[in-house]
Symmetry: none
Subunit: 250 residues, 2 copies
DNA sequence: CCATATTCGGTCAAAATCAATCATAAAATA
DNA sequence: TATTTTATGATTGATTTTGACCGAATATGG
């Protein structure tokens, strides 16, 4: 087996399980421990993974390879459609706020359709991808939250208070009639709320699987912000549309 | 068998398996190892495939080519050693500034040796990696420069003026006796200069290949900031050490 | 806290692969 | 036909990869 084959197997396993043990790789590749160690080293050198004691762990890549992560990532096509629908709402010369989260990230490839945008985002991953797509981007300063790679804290709040956006696009961990739009981290919730307040028009993007999911902190009620989502059942639509405007991405 | 036929077979196999071993091609084509080597060379020259040790790989591979980015990264071991040496200078509980650039990035894995660090960086890539390694990180706000994914502009300058660092670690595009430390972009140079001014102790990290390279804007003279680099020749050391303190990573 | 078991990084020699060269034979050209 | 060009296969020494080994570093369980 060739070096490249082995390394691809390692990366596949990583996409699949997020973590992989060195010893599990030995039967999978037929290579020796030493060789696999070297492979892990090489892959870490080009930032494809993070070595840990006993194996390696996935590093959530900046511009994730759509083809590769297809299996791992869920609702890719839904998110793509939602991203495109949302991006179509943007007009040339606007200033827009992009929240963190994968769904929001799917907007970025479609943003290049528009000229002279200025994007403000609190997500380091989004920022990296926006740079790849050559979009004018500004990052407000803040504390970096390791788990989501989003900027949070008093500092960013203070900064955002001085800014105003034509449109803001928010992600969410769940939405329901009773709880509204919710997310686990209150600090991130505070930023979402503020971004909504500072924008002429805000939208929440979420695939339909998040319906009736409730997380810890609410950042908006359904009435506050319209929802862009994929195909919902008729029943779900009739319930939700009493409370908010729904756009279905097709 | 004609040359064209053979190469066609190679490309077919490549389409089929994404990777092909040289030895598997010998029975398939009936040609000798030397001939097939030449074929692979030819096909690589016209970008039909990517040669790897033991065979060849599809160019339009589903998976990105690890071989490519791996080979592209130069002076990896030197940078690792420099990164480790620099990281060893850090003490627990310190506040440090990390510049953008790959050499600086190699410090990050070694930073986790220290407790309770706070890292300020103007590089989105660094920030992402720091998050992977769970290091306390703060990003000053600024305009995102697409090419280097570094934050620049008046805003970040203003922010950094209010901060003070125990140590600052800077990258450079070149260093020479006459020109000092230089980098192409004046905006990035301004940030480097400011970071030096706002720190108790600053260091420039650079592999020895940058010696006598000169870029557009100087951000410091050799006298201003000590240099951490890898093995230099005795002559180079004797020249440089007249002007600055040199630490050789071993 | 210590003892034990893994895991790690480095070194080494063997094996595989590579690039370069050379001679031969077929094909093309004169 | 004679000569050049081209493709091929064999050979060689250099380079790369690999697996095994070992002491050091790191987890694990009491």
């Amino acid at each position: 087996m060739l070096t490249e084959e082995r390394q691809q197997i390692i990366l596949e396993q990583l996409k699949l399980h997020n973590i992989v043990k060195l010893h599990d790789l030995i039967p999978l590749t037929g290579a020796s421990e030493s060789t696999l160690r070297r492979d892990l080293q090489d892959l870490e050198n080009c930032r494809k993974l993070l070595r840990i004691h006993g194996g390696a762990q996935n590093v959530i890549s900046l511009h994730e390879e759509p083809a590769l992560s297809q299996k791992a990532a869920v609702h890719i096509n839904e998110k793509k459609m939602i991203g495109q629908t949302a991006a179509n709402l943007v007009q040339n010369h606007e200033v827009i706020f992009l929240d963190s989260g994968t769904t929001i990230q799917f907007m970025i490839p479609y943003l290049i359709e528009h000229n002279d945008l200025l994007v403000i985002t609190n997500s380091v991953d989004n920022a990296s991808m926006l740079a790849d797509y050559n979009v004018n981007t500004f990052l407000p300063g803040g504390k970096l939250k390791s788990s989501t790679k989003a900027l949070v804290g008093a500092n960013i709040i203070q900064t955002l208070e001085n800014y105003h956006f034509d449109r803001a696009f928010l992600g969410t961990n769940g939405f329901s009639v009773e709880a509204g739009y919710t997310t686990p981290d209150p600090e991130e919730a505070a930023i979402k709320s503020l971004a909504i307040a500072q924008s002429n028009q805000a939208y929440v993007l979420s695939d339909s699987s998040k319906f009736s999911q409730v997380s810890f902190s609410r950042f908006a009620t359904l009435e506050d912000v319209p929802l862009i989502t994929d195909k919902l059942s008729d029943k779900e639509i009739s319930i939700l549309s009493k409370y908010t405007k729904i756009t279905e991405a097709i």
